[in-house]
Symmetry: C2
Subunit: 212 residues, 2 copies
C-alpha cells in the first residue's frame, strides 16, 4: 500500500513539474499599449501607440516615425476582416484607403517556437520589483528570418521582439504601457471624412505600410 | 475659512504631485544577478552571473564571452578596497593577480542624469503582469559617450543600460534574475590557490578586463 502511495505521489509531482514548463501562449484579445521599433543601423526608428482588437481583427496605430533622416507622423487603421486599411491625415482631413493584403496575425507565441528560458526582470525578492518573462525563438519562414520573442509569464503580454533577416538586419521592438481592454472603441471606426473615399484598388498595403 | 482650507489642500496636492517625480536612486548594496552584454555590430557578446557588494566594494563575475569569433569562460574577482583583481582559472588551479586601477562605481543613477520617462513593462491591469521602470539619460564624460539607464521604480534595480561612444558604438546590457543579498559570501574570498601568487604589478586591470 505504501509503495502505491509513493508511486502515486511521484507521478503527481512529476506531472506538476512538467506542467510548469511554459507553453506558447496568446495575448489577451483586447489591448492598448505603446511600442518602440529600432533597426540595427539606426536608420529607422518609431514610437507608436496602438489599439489591438483580435475579436474583430482591427488595429489602430499612431506613430512618430524617423526614417531616411525624415521625421513624420502616421495614423493608420487596419480592418483585416474588410481587407482595407486607412492612412489618416487629420491636418488635411483626408484619407488614403488601401487594399489590405496581409492576414491578421494575433499577438502570440507561434506553436513551433523553441523555448529559450524564463527570467525575472528586476527581482522577486520584494513585491512590485520584478516581472517574470519567457523567451522563445523561431524561424519566420515567409520573411526568411529568425525571431526572439519575450512575453510575460502571467498575462502573455509582449515585452520585446527581436527579428533578424538578411534584408532587415536586426530589428528590435519593445512593448510597454499595456492596458487590457479598449478605452475608446470608436477609434476602430474610420473618421467621417474617410467614408466617401473610393478604394484605391491599385495600391496595396499591409501592417508595415503603416510605418512608411 | 473655506478659502484657507482650499489653499491648504491645493498646496498639499501640488506637493504630493511634485514629490512623485522619480529621483536618481542607488541600488541595494548586496545583490546577485545575471546580465547579457552585446555590441551593435555583434562582434562581442557575453552572458554573466555576478555578485555585488557595495559595502566592501567587491564584485565577483563569472561569464561566458564570445569575442573575435572565440568563446571562452572567464571568472574574475574584483576587490576595489585592496586595489587588486584576480582572473581565476579553475581548470589549471591558477590565478592572475592584477593591479586594479579603476574606482568602485556603485550601481546607481548618476545625480546629473536627465529623467526621460516612466513606463510599465507589461501591464498594471492585473497583478504580477507588469513592472514599473524609469529611464534616464546622460553623458559619461570620461568615456565621451552617452548612456541610457532603465531601473525599476521600486527597489532601484537595473533592467537595461544602453551606452554609445565613438569607440564602442552601441553597447546593450540587460540585467535579470536579481536577488537581494549574497547567497555565498565566501565567493568574495580568493580561492586558496590564488593566495601565493605575487602581484603582477606590471599588469593592470579594471572592470572591463574581466570581459577580455
Amino acid at each position: 500500500m505504501q509503495l502505491w502511495l509513493y508511486c502515486a505521489l511521484l507521478a503527481f509531482a512529476a506531472g506538476g513539474c512538467l506542467a510548469q514548463k511554459p507553453r506558447p501562449c496568446r495575448s489577451p484579445p483586447l489591448l492598448e499599449g505603446s511600442m518602440t521599433v529600432i533597426t540595427q543601423n539606426g536608420s529607422f526608428s518609431a514610437y507608436a501607440k496602438y489599439a489591438y482588437d483580435a475579436f474583430l481583427q482591427r488595429i489602430r496605430i499612431r506613430e512618430l516615425v524617423h526614417a531616411n533622416n525624415k521625421t513624420f507622423f502616421q495614423d493608420a487603421l487596419l480592418l483585416y476582416q474588410k481587407h482595407v486599411m486607412y492612412l489618416i491625415n487629420h491636418k488635411n482631413q483626408t484619407c488614403k484607403k488601401l487594399n489590405l493584403t496581409s492576414q491578421f496575425h494575433p499577438m502570440r507565441i507561434p506553436c513551433n517556437s523553441t523555448f529559450l528560458g524564463q527570467v525575472v526582470l528586476g527581482s522577486l525578492s520584494a513585491p512590485a520589483e520584478g516581472l517574470l518573462v519567457n523567451s522563445w525563438a523561431g524561424q519566420a519562414t515567409k520573411e526568411q528570418g529568425q525571431y526572439m520573442l519575450t512575453f510575460t509569464e502571467f498575462g502573455c503580454l509582449p515585452v520585446s521582439v527581436l527579428f533578424n533577416s538578411p534584408n532587415s538586419g536586426w530589428v528590435v521592438t519593445n512593448f510597454f504601457n499595456i492596458v487590457r481592454g479598449i478605452k475608446e472603441p470608436s477609434q476602430f471606426i474610420p473618421p467621417p471624412f474617410c467614408e466617401d473615399d473610393p478604394l484605391e484598388t491599385e495600391e496595396e498595403g499591409d501592417f508595415f505600410t503603416a510605418f512608411f
